[in-house]
Symmetry: C2
Subunit: 345 residues, 2 copies
């Protein structure tokens, strides 16, 4: 019932008390004593403000202070659990600090990403957490040169002076690949994501490093796919299954790709891991309950969101750009990788 038809303004409160907005603002801003507003007046102001359920218009406040207490968040696809988890922790950490989140979903499209950046900047956000789509980086170079506070999450651009927090993708992929190699796999297919992205390059690099290190030749025909989406994993796996190239294992570079692979494997009535082994990037709450519980490379995406916001504040408080924070991954061992006899490979 206290919800007013038209929002209470500072002026309205002041008029009802026979004061000016100045005085009311100072009292509510906690500067009453500093400006020698009498205790009696302060009490009256606070009481009426509470009664009218007054809360200052953040738009006007933002204009005056050029500070909006808002953080922009751009993700390629908020319905992807991976990004949703990051978003969850970004919002939580932001709220803890009294900040709100302006969310944009770039729909995995760089054009929308550029649009979103402009949109968000024209709203004068105090900081920006960006999970780039990862195809092009010209717009990011512009961003780096601007005065906008930015932290990149999930994908990093070594050439740009932008703070970032990502998984140690090279190592994650290498460990997963080595795990398979130790179990006797030599023909390991790599279902990669967007080829242009640094994220993908790192994971593929880790994969290749592991192979090379164990004296296994890299077969380009086993490196397939070109998107982090389910569709890509599906198509790549089906093509692979019908191609000459034989393989005993799959390393899927994202949860969605893994889902696509699962779909293809299931349609071909193959069995995991007896027919084909698999490890996927990104853990999922469903992973333990799959037909074959899936071994995964778990990223610390909860922390990523949180850390991203922390970096934003670290940067804005002291001018200490903190570059490329790398988070370790963890291999969660389940049952989707078979041990095979060396001669099988």
């Amino acid at each position: 019932m206290n919800a007013p038809k038209s929002k209470t303004t500072l002026k309205a409160v002041a008029e009802q008390l026979g004061l000016t907005p100045t005085t009311v603002s100072r009292v509510l801003g906690g500067k009453g004593d500093q400006y020698r507003i009498s205790q009696k007046t302060q009490r009256r102001v606070r009481e009426l403000a509470a009664k009218l359920n007054f809360s200052p218009n953040q738009i006007a406040r933002g204009l005056r202070l050029s500070k909006t207490s808002t953080i922009g968040l751009i993700v390629p696809d908020i319905s992807n659990p991976y990004f949703a988890t990051i978003a969850h922790h970004v919002t939580a950490e932001a709220r803890r600090r009294g900040y709100s989140i302006l969310l944009c979903d770039s729909q995995e499209d760089t054009r929308y990403e550029i649009e979103a950046i402009q949109l968000i900047r024209s709203r004068n956000v105090d900081g920006l957490v960006l999970c780039p789509v990862g195809v092009s980086d010209e717009h990011l170079a512009e961003l780096a040169e601007s005065d906008q506070q930015v932290v990149l999450v999930d994908r990093t651009y070594p050439d740009l002076a932008i703070a970032s927090v990502t998984s140690d993708n090279v190592r994650g992929a290498r460990e997963a690949t080595e795990y398979m190699i130790r179990r006797g796999h030599k023909r390991i297919a790599c279902l990669q994501g967007l080829q242009a992205s640094a994220l993908n390059r790192d994971r593929v690099l880790g994969y290749q490093e592991a192979l090379t290190q164990h004296g296994i030749p890299i077969d380009e025909e086993l490196i397939v796919g070109d998107s982090f989406a389910q569709q890509s994993g599906y198509v790549a796996t089906r093509l692979l299954l019908h191609a000459q190239a034989k393989f005993t294992a799959i390393l899927a570079m994202s949860n969605q790709i893994a889902l696509g692979a699962l779909q293809a494997v299931s349609e071909e009535s193959l069995n995991i891991p007896s027919d084909v082994s698999i490890i996927a990037f990104d853990d999922s709450p469903y992973a333990p309950y799959l037909a074959t519980p899936m071994t995964t490379v778990k990223q610390r995406n909860e922390e990523m969101g949180q850390i991203a916001v922390q970096l934003l504040f670290a940067r804005s408080e002291s001018q200490r750009p903190f570059h490329g924070l790398l988070l370790p991954t963890r291999l969660i061992e389940r049952d989707s990788v078979a041990s095979i006899r060396p001669e099988d490979s």
Copy 2:
């Protein structure tokens, strides 16, 4: 390189041209002809604006127009795929109309939800899409009486004059229950969500209706749990398995609850569906690939997000409050429900 250190303002553009902000504003606002600004001037303005990469300060604009082109979105948990999907479609539909999203995650806590509503309102959003936690509704009554445009998603409050879009939960639950009954199940456990919520009441009601309609007595001991979270499903299932009450099937009222049930069943080394059958609300991309592909009640949550935004605009354009839009659910039949002999029940 056009990214300015300090944002270009309307005044700056005007000064460089020897004009006033008025003129520049009118030209860029498309009202040049209407106010008889010469074509030459209009061209000059547009050229410089483009060159300086000018875009109006949305904060100032919002203040002047008392319209922020922003929609508030409050969800209980953005990392839950169900809400993440809704959010995805809300943002997409909003973007299509030139609106941005201010996101809040209430963390399934009514206190945070109330905070979020205040926060969002103090930012003068033009509309609010709210997925309520569902415990209390006093704050929603206040909201209903205010001039704030609101659409409720996922949970509805029949007593309140607020537009909403939800699944036909009664029918969804009834159909799922009937499906099990047709397969010979009579002792069906109901893993409910938050008891206080209308959402849960509806689903439980549908469950009970189906039983009653088929002459099966309702056993209160089979209706367990009190949260939509995984933990609740887990605990409820374990307790149920160790209790006297025998049952052959489970109806889980959310994806998270189902996950908890899966966990419990797995820990008890039981088999789905031979030991226990299960149907879960909310479909998941993983559902087909589970140890036993799971039969689910699929909600049209993609459309929910989209429709929510559409309702918001329908309401704000013509004063036609559209009440309680109900979306049908669909039973996706997989393998998690066994047909049992009547005497087993």
